[in-house]
């Protein structure tokens, strides 16, 4: 993915501290020396290109509802099908294949613990596989807004 200098600046400056005001994109535009229209069209195109998943707030997990990391050991020949069934379950927001006997890892969220456990029980029955349930005990660093290392990527 090739991005130009302005796209990189947008990402470098605004992975956090997006202005909260009536015209946030105008304020960003002024600090970057471009027009508001250009900020909006660049953000739209970055979103279209899947460079950004969205623009906006990330809610703190522990205060925004219940969530946990879960894993199953799927038959390696059936991974795509099992992954698709996991994706259909309500509240699933990440689902990765990983190189381990527990080969599918996903995050499930719900408005509260009770709903979360019900959803997991239901999914467990549907998959006919035991689900490893790993709630967070303590977070030491939970922020994916790290500085992009453009040199390493180029």
């Amino acid at each position: 993915m090739r991005l130009d200098t302005v796209d990189k600046q947008l990402i470098d400056h605004y992975q956090r501290n997006l202005p909260v005001c009536e015209r946030p994109y105008l304020e960003m535009a002024r600090s970057l020396g471009i027009s508001e229209d250009e900020v909006i069209s660049r953000l739209s195109s970055l979103q279209e290109q899947q460079v950004l998943s969205r623009v906006g707030p990330v809610f703190e997990h522990s205060r925004a509802g219940a969530s946990l990391l879960a894993a199953v050991a799927a038959d390696p020949t059936e991974m795509d099908a099992v992954a698709a069934r996991i994706n259909e379950a309500p509240g699933v927001n990440h689902n990765y294949a990983r190189e381990h006997p527990f080969n599918l890892w996903f995050v499930m969220t719900a408005p509260d613990e009770h709903t979360l456990n019900e959803r997991l029980d239901e999914l467990e029955q549907r998959l006919k596989l035991p689900i490893l349930r790993l709630p967070m005990v303590e977070g030491y660093h939970i922020d994916l807004g790290f500085d992009i290392d453009w040199d390493a990527l180029s």
Binding site: Q15, N87, P90, H94, R98, H100, E138, G139, I148
Partner: protein, 181 residues
């Protein structure tokens, strides 16, 4: 979806009821919309106001308050690292003696290339690991090099660990706590 409609979180909406007659339902809907991202239009908060039956000032006030409270921990561009070329994503898990896990977690959280670090329970006998670190890297060799460097610097040679590279993302999107979509 058969789950009951989520109740407005009064704890987070409280501040607003004290001062003005805000719609609790409007606030809940605002959070749902925010979880899906800001509209890319000149007045995004006005648009959210129109969708939720709040005023633009109420929306701005709620977002600011949630930021101060820590319910919103970051507000900005949410990058899809994989698209940019961060294709090597390793979850490194450690079996740390319980009495040391908190201390080691804080130490590893400060390592620049560790992007996530947290403690989770063991599930014996299947899962003996209680400390998780994520390394988002450009390629596998580099990530393994970073891990080796970390083991050496922090004297982790005696701690059993496993490296789980992800080789495929089936789904990646923001957490939607109040929305069932």
């Amino acid at each position: 979806m058969n789950t009951p409609a989520p109740q407005p979180n009064l704890q987070t909406g409280n501040f607003l009821f004290n001062t003005e007659a805000f719609s609790a339902w409007g606030l809940l809907r605002l959070r749902q919309h925010l979880e899906e991202g800001l509209p890319l239009t000149p007045r995004p908060y006005l648009e959210l106001a129109q969708r939720t039956g709040l005023t633009e000032q109420q929306v701005l006030g709620a977002v600011e308050h949630w930021q101060q409270q820590g319910l919103i921990k970051r507000n900005g561009l949410i990058v899809k690292h994989r698209t940019l070329g961060y294709t090597a994503n390793a979850m490194v898990v450690w079996d740390v003696p319980d009495e040391n896990v908190s201390q080691l977690g804080k130490t590893l959280a400060a390592v620049p290339f560790v992007t996530l670090c947290y403690q989770r329970p063991r599930r014996l006998p299947d899962w003996p690991y209680n400390l998780f670190c994520m390394i988002h890297g450009v390629n596998r060799e580099r990530v393994l090099g970073q891990l080796e460097q970390m083991i050496e610097t922090h004297d982790l040679g005696d701690i059993r660990h496993a490296v789980l590279f992800s080789n495929k993302a089936y789904l990646q999107r923001g957490g939607r706590y109040v929305s069932n979509r």
